[in-house]
Each structure stands twice: as C-alpha cells, then as structure tokens.
C-alpha cells in the first residue's frame, strides 16, 4: 500500500514536469473545460426559462446537480479518465506489454500513470457551480447533509471508476472498436440529468442496475437534506461492489490479451 502511494507521488512529479513543457496546451485545455462547464450552466438556465420545475427539481437543485457531476467527473479525469481511455489503443498495438511486465498491479498502473492536471481547472469550476446553486437556493448546508453529500460523492467517484473500467475492459475482446471511450461518455451523459425524469423501469435501471443516480443525482439531493439515510448504505454497497467487480473483470480480460506485437 505504502509502495503504491510513493509510486503515485512519483507519477505526480513526473506529470507536473511534463505539463510545464506544454504550457499553452495546458491552458487551452483548461479554457475548453471551463467552456463546457459554462455550456451546461447555460443549458440549465435555458430550460428553467421555460419551466419552474423538472420532475420536482428546482433550478437551484439542478445547478447543484450539474456542479456535482462536474466535480465527480473532474476528479475522475485528474486521476484515471485519460489513462483508461487509452486502453483500447494499448491492447490493439500491444503496448500493454510494458505495463503487465512491471512489478505492480497492472490495473493500478493503467488507471493512474498520467495525472491530468488540467482537470483541476474544471473541478474548481464545478465547485463554483455548486456554490452558485446553493446561492440560488439561499441555503447553507447543515453538517449532516454536507457529510452525507461528501460521502456520496466519494461513492459516486468509485461507481464512475467501476463502470468506466468495466466498459473499457471490454476492449480486450472488442479490439476493433477504438471509440469505446465515446460509448462510455454516453453512458455517463445520463448521470447529468436528475434521475427522477425517468419513471418506472427506466428509473429502476439507473438506480439499481446501472447505478448512475449515485454519481450526481443522489449526492445533490443529499446536500439539500432530501435523501433518506438508507440510500447512503446502498451507495457504499454499489461503490464497493463495482470496484471489486471491475478488478475481477480486469483479471478475466487480461487473460484474453494476446499481445499483438510479440
């Protein structure tokens, strides 16, 4: 464990040095990410020009939801997003060889090798959106809901990681599909919207089967003190389950890896 922390610190230092080389590119990416965040804020604004509520969600709540999704996605993008999205290419070209021959967990190395520092910009921006949402609601969250919120955001991050890893691991079999990452982005697109817009089977699908509701919807509701406590337990259960499931699936996938280059 301690070894992994030390290793991760080296990754950070290495990536800081890398980013310092390409500063213009770094700022271009920060601006693009901030642009997308503004885009989603404008989107919420436009919708609420035409309606006071979406499935019971006020504008302030939807804004917190947007910010929360940005926060979870931003944190995920700093740590793992770009790394995992390179997996199909590594499988196709056989460069995964360099990973599996190293004396560390291959999933750890594949997930965390490069730190996306520009994700810090969008994460900070997402935080501002959350504050804006709270300001719209004229509400200061109490310690209880705030703790529940942070806890669920943590679960959301793990769920995001688990689902994303499960999908990207498919590239061991679907070698010819190089835009698996695009497909995964579409799955997570659902998490941007309040889960309550869905009714019946679709609602149950995104809560119990593909628990995207835990990425942003449920944390946002928890922050407003509107989420019953048992959901926290379920969120932890899904987070742990998906993490374990993705590690297991990774091992199965690795066995199907044929090392294209050698």
């Amino acid at each position: 464990m301690f070894r992994y922390l030390r290793l991760y610190r080296v990754f950070w230092e290495n990536c800081l040095a890398r980013e310092a080389e390409f500063r213009a590119n770094f700022w271009a990416n920060v601006i693009t990410n901030a642009g997308w965040l503004l885009f989603f804020v404008a989107f919420i604004k436009v919708i609420y020009l035409n309606t006071p509520r979406i499935a019971g969600w006020s504008e302030a709540e939807a804004m917190v939801l947007t910010g929360t999704f940005g926060l979870v996605q931003g944190l995920f993008s700093i740590v793992a997003y770009q790394n995992l999205s390179r997996l199909p290419e590594m499988v196709r070209l056989g460069t995964l060889d360099f990973v599996i021959t190293k004396p560390v967990s291959s999933l750890f190395l594949v997930s965390t090798r490069y730190v996306r520092l520009e994700g810090i910009g969008s994460t900070a921006g997402a935080f501002l959106v959350i504050l804006y949402g709270l300001w719209l609601a004229q509400e200061v969250p109490a310690p209880g809901p705030l703790a529940a919120y942070l806890f669920l955001c943590g679960c959301g991050l793990l769920i995001y990681y688990g689902i994303y890893t499960l999908l990207m691991t498919l590239s061991f079999w679907l070698i010819r599909i190089d835009n698996l990452a695009v497909l995964s982005d579409m799955v997570f697109h659902v998490a941007r919207y309040p889960v309550d817009i869905f009714r019946g089977w679709a609602w149950r699908l995104f809560v119990y089967a593909i628990p995207l509701a835990f990425v942003a919807s449920f944390p946002a509701r928890a922050l407003f003190g509107k989420l019953p406590l048992p959901w926290l337990g379920l969120g932890a259960l899904f987070a742990g389950g998906l993490l374990a499931g993705s590690i297991l699936f990774w091992r199965i996938g690795l066995r199907a890896y044929s090392s294209a280059s050698s």
């Binding site: 601006i31 989107f43 309606t51 006071p52 497909l183 982005d185 919207y193 817009i197």
Partner: protein, 263 residues
C-alpha cells in the same frame, strides 16, 4: 464523373469496415436526443404546451432533429486536421481531384452508411415514445427538402473551412470546441430555438448554425410563415456564399503555411 464514383465507392468500402464505430458515434447524437424529450416531458407539470410545443410536438421535434443531424451535419474537420497534422494531406495535392471533392465523397459515403445503420436506431427511439407520436399535418414539401440539402452543404462547407484552419494552427481541438458549443445551442440541436431567450433566438437567425439544422425542422413542423421561409432561404444563400468564399481564401493562404510534416 467516373473518377468521382470510384473515389466514392472506395470510401464506402473503407467506411463499411468501421460500421461498429459508426453505430457508437451515432449514439452520441441519439442519447441526448432521447434524453431531452424525457427532460421536457417531466417539465410540463400539467401545462398543455411549452413555447408552443405540445408534449407530442416536443417529442417529434427531437426525433426529427435526430434524423436531420444524421443526414445533414458534417464533421469533416476532424479528418482534415488529422491528415494535415500527420502530413498525409500532401498526397492529395498531387491528385487529379480537388481535396474538397475527396472530402465530400468521404463525408457523403459515411453519411449514407450511417443513414442505413440509423434506421433500426430510429425504430427503437420511436418505440420508446410511441404514445406521443402523432402526425399533425407536418410539411414534407420541396421547401423542406431544399432546406435539408442547403443545410447539408452549408454544414459541409463550414466544417471544411474550419478543418483548413489546421493549416495555420497545430492545436485545433480547442478551436473546434468553440464551434461545437455555440452550434449545439444555435442550431436548435439541444433545445428548439423558440425556447431560447429572445436575444439568443435573434442571434440564431443571423448566424449560420440555424441553417445547418433547425431551419429544416422548423419548416417540417409548420412553425414558419411564408415570409420567414423566404428570408430564411436568403440567409442560407448568404452563408453558403460566405462559407464557399472562406474555404477558397483559407485554401489559398493556408497552402503557403503548410509545412508537410513527414516529408
């Protein structure tokens, strides 16, 4: 003409090997187009209409826009930028057809394949919203088809011109984002233009984005008066001319900048 059809069929064969990718790309248009009606349907709260759209009209709007996106919107800039960055662009300079013709053939063949693959996806979408679908005297006359063809050409020319910007700049992805962001609002892709704030709707009428997509949908849904249709076609013609001019200028000055990486 014969060389054109040859190029076209080569591109078609090339694209056919990537059909699973095409399906995934189509999902990027489909998922938001399915989610948006669901968002709106959860927003009526008992009201009969939002911005003149009944629930049935709203669902129809997004499904029509989804079809039109598949037919009309071109994304050639990504290919052009890759070819320029990697130096493969040079090959085309020595060939007997213009680069634009190659790109158009490629884009058209990709579009045709997508069109065929799109039919089952559309079927699923229609099934999802089955109880909201109603034919309310929608317009499929020649003005609609003219708007589709004109919009398709405009979208191609604009994305081609933006693609040529890669001759001047090495990092173009950020530039493209500044094209896609206003486009998704002002082309009516994510919300009908009538639901935008007044100033944004007026801006949309002046800018080219509306004519690449929403204009055809608005004609289809009978939302425009004859005078608005005429002025719309005039604006479209203006932007077609402007975009064609831009491609020529970018081509001429861009070639002087081009460094032919890999030579």
């Amino acid at each position: 003409m014969r060389k054109w059809t040859t190029v076209f069929s080569v591109y078609l064969q090339d694209n056919l090997t990537y059909r699973s990718q095409a399906v995934i790309w189509m999902m990027t248009d489909t998922v938001p187009a399915v989610l948006m009606p669901i968002v709106w349907l959860a927003s009526y709260n008992g009201r009969p209409a939002i911005g003149g759209f009944t629930p049935s009209g709203m669902v129809t709007y997004y499904l029509v826009m989804l079809c039109l996106t598949n037919l009309m919107i071109s994304h050639v800039m990504w290919d052009i930028a890759t070819e320029i960055r990697e130096g493969r662009f040079s090959i085309y300079l020595t060939r007997p057809m213009s680069y634009m013709a190659y790109q158009y053939a490629g884009s058209l063949s990709w579009r045709m394949m997508r069109g065929v693959l799109f039919i089952p996806i559309l079927g699923v979408c229609m099934l999802l919203f089955w109880r909201f679908l109603r034919w309310e005297g929608y317009h499929l006359g020649w003005t609609f088809w003219a708007a589709v063809v004109g919009g398709h050409l405009l979208s191609f020319l604009v994305s081609y011109a933006i693609g040529l910007l890669a001759l001047f700049f090495t990092e173009v992805r950020s530039i493209y984002m500044f094209y896609y962001m206003p486009m998704s609002f002002l082309s009516g892709e994510i919300v009908p233009l009538a639901l935008l704030p007044g100033w944004a709707e007026s801006a949309a009428r002046l800018l080219p984005f509306r004519y690449t997509l929403a204009f055809a949908a608005e004609i289809f849904m009978n939302r425009l008066s004859p005078a608005e249709v005429t002025s719309g076609f005039l604006a479209m013609a203006f932007w077609l001319g402007g975009a064609a001019l831009a491609t020529r200028l970018l081509w001429r000055f861009g070639l002087r900048h081009y460094t032919a990486v890999g030579m």
